[in-house]
């Protein structure tokens, strides 16, 4: 039961990451790219959750917490930098 769910979820996450990579490649502005990369980080955290569920361990729990902070810091820094650069 759980294995089937994790397989379905894994396929969904793979499709989602491909879509995000396409947006990173295509994105008209750097803000779209930052947004898509943020979503890719969330997808990685979701994949870690699925892995912890199917293998019954908690090794990646700390990385899930850290990834939340990393995505926040990254997107805030880049958007701050963009507005400064364009308005200078």
């Amino acid at each position: 039961m759980i294995e089937t769910a994790v397989w379905i979820g894994g396929v969904m996450l793979a499709l989602a990451s491909i879509a995000c990579l396409w947006r990173v490649f295509k994105g008209p502005s750097i803000l779209d790219r930052v947004l898509a990369l943020d979503v890719i980080l969330l997808i990685i955290s979701s994949a870690l959750c699925l892995d912890m569920a199917i293998n019954r361990h908690t090794d990646y729990l700390l990385f899930v917490v850290v990834a939340c902070t990393l995505g926040f810091i990254g997107s805030v820094t880049v958007s701050r930098f963009v507005s400064d650069q364009r308005n200078a």
Partner: protein, 137 residues
């Protein structure tokens, strides 16, 4: 009871992953920075809530719950801040399609601000951006 919990866990995991898929589809199909931002926050809050709940139920341990609540609360706190920063930078750098907006409250604030204090601060910056764009084009 165990079988029932397994079904709950499976549904939660699949639904949490579905949120990421929805975000990916939204990132591809939506036309505008703000609408893409709306799609991108789906896995951030609801997706993680479902995944964490599924994980905690599957591992059957209460020790996990504080850490998962910490991770989810961190997402809940940081998502609006980063969305605000990205939207602000997008508005300033003209990546927001103004014709798709029903209400543009920031424009009204900026015009009131310019009437009150003259062209200072944000208004000067936006006009500077306009001038730069006309020079470049």
């Amino acid at each position: 009871m165990d079988f029932f919990l397994e079904i709950v866990v499976a549904v939660l995991l699949v639904a949490g992953s579905l949120m990421s898929l929805i975000a990916g589809i939204g990132l591809i199909t939506f036309p505008d920075l703000l609408s893409r931002m709306h799609a991108a926050t789906k896995p951030q809050v609801l997706g993680f809530l479902l995944l964490f709940a599924g994980l905690a139920i599957h591992l059957r341990s209460w020790i996990l719950v504080p850490v998962l609540v910490l991770a989810w609360g961190l997402q809940l706190l940081t998502a609006p801040v980063s969305a605000h920063m990205i939207g602000r930078a997008g508005y300033r750098t003209k990546h927001v399609a103004k014709e798709t907006l029903h209400v543009d409250e920031l424009k009204r604030v900026i015009s009131t601000h310019s009437e009150a204090t003259g062209n200072t601060g944000a208004v000067t910056r936006i006009e500077g951006t306009k001038a730069d764009e006309t020079e470049n084009s």
